[in-house]
Amino acid sequence: MRSLLLTAAFGGLILSSTPSFAHVTLDVREAPADSYYKLVLNVPHGCAGSATTRLRVRIPDGVTGVKPQPKPGWEVATVKTKLATPAKGSHGETLTETVSEVAWSGGKLLDEHFDQFMMQVHLPNAAAGTILYFPVVQECEKGITRWIEVPQPGAKPGGLKEPAPALRLTPKR
């Protein structure tokens, strides 16, 4: 009986997590507001069989202190944009610009391989339950996949073909 339940639970776990294996996702999908967060992007495959050569991540508004982790075999670059209204950094300093995009390029991640891309960010002091989207453009030797779909406000995230990696804020610690 117990083994049956275990099997069912395990099967359920596999089923429920299956879609995630097929998408570019965040490794950890919840983090406290107003905290440092190690953002880990899982890249499980290329674009329809073709090797990944470039990965671009859009940083949502309010996320600051972006520091991508250098990755052997890849060049990392950031795009900075001026802030419309200067914001306060995590150490009380005034920020006039922020990183809006991080891109890793020059490498080659075969479709049959898996890799992770990391950066450290500081999450905004927003209400618990706020969802931050990190749209990703995955460029490959052949083709391009955009993990940029965002559900309608109030709608369930299901039903999206290529959802943007999402992070849910938990109460500030």
Partner: protein, 526 residues
Amino acid sequence: MYPLRAFLVLVLVLLGTVQACAHAVLLETVPPDRAVVATSPDMMILRFNETVQPIAVELQGNTTGRIAADLVVVDHEIHLVPRAPLAAGSYFVSYRVASADSHPVAGSFLFAVGAAPAEWTVPALNIATYTGWTWAAAINRAFFLAAAFMAVGGLLFAFVVRRAQPVERVVVPAAQFGAVSAIIGIYLQGGVLMDAADAVPWNMEIWRIGLSSTRGAALIAAACGLFLCTARRVRFSLVGAAIVIASFAVSGHAATAMPHWIAIPTLLLHVGAVAFWLGSLAPLLFVLREAGTGRHGVFRRFSDFGTAIVPQLILAGIILAVLQIQRADAFFNSAYGLILALKLALVGLLLVIAICNRWILMPEMAENIAGHTGRFRRAIQGELALGFAILVVTAFLSQTVPPRSTLEHEVAAIDAARDTGQTVLVVAHDRKAVVAVTPARPGRNTIRVRILDNDDGVIDPMDVAVDLFNTDAGIEPLQRRLEGVADGYFELTGPELAVAGRWTIRIDALINDFEKAIFETEILVK
């Protein structure tokens, strides 16, 4: 010569029983009538079968009353954009527009935001068939027609029958009267269109509406033509007469009947012949006053022209009637048919008098039989009176809806037009997609998409793709890319919507590298 012409006209009659298209018809609305939408629609769309002139298009809340909204006319559509988002509740849009034949068309549709109301309350809204305005417009029109025909016909008479006849005594006062009547007619037409029951009699808005209708344009042309008719030089006055006759092709039932290439020349022939006939009567009365033998020659010439023209006049009238009525049973079952029957009866009477004149009074005049002048005068006066009665009936005819707009096949044609596609407005993420599928029938279809921002500005996306699926028919998403055409439109023509039923269309519009707008809507393919 005449048998040949009559034959040609008969051929035209046979060809003429082709499709007609009458008053403007509302084909589709967004949101559809009695639809429940989740969020406030950014605009309401009223799609007609032809370009219409909005007179009063209003958005009203069932509890809140009139809601401020901006009106935009785009081709055959009227867009009504509320200035603020609509709160949950039920609403209705009432419209009153002028169609191309210058008749008012009114109606309404309802929709709800949020939840469906317990009961749809249909606003009381009716279009009266004969109001004070229609009576005034019809009577004024009868006088206008009489004056215009007397002016134009008097000129034609002077030109083809008797040049020496001083035209000023008939043509100039008739033309002046007609021009004034035409200008009054513009105002009355505005009143008919607005159905301005509560409007002040001297309202600029009524003038504006009247002027911008097709009837207004026709009347301005007629007034200018009549003004030219008063010119002393024959060349100018004949141009004026031609303008007056041509103005009849601008507006009205006959001018908008299909096919145009039959209806308009026939109408012009009909109008020209009527003008000649009725316009000759007054000059003939003057000729009758003269003593001597010369007048018999004048009557003889008029009579020869008359016998040539009357058959054409009647044939042209029959063609026009066929275009309007199109089927025998509609003749007796509609107000239009009955008024037309009255007109034909009066025309018949007029013909009897004309025949008497030709076969009895003309020989009497030739032989100078005693008392013939008095009889002739009475006959012509009778013709004038009958002619005016016919014009009164004609004026009412022009204010009555012809049955061609209510016939079954007409309705079927309108249904077909209604089915030539569906247009849906989808709102998502502060953006709108206008999705049009034509003809929305199983088989080859064109899907046309345009993305707009919140302020109706056109967004030119990097890429637009659609997923087409039909869960009921077990059809999994078919992915297609749309091709960008001009002005932000993206299009796909193909056989994807192959079966009837509810199809879901999911639109992925790539706004920029990291932003994609996704819209989903259903289209009924039938």
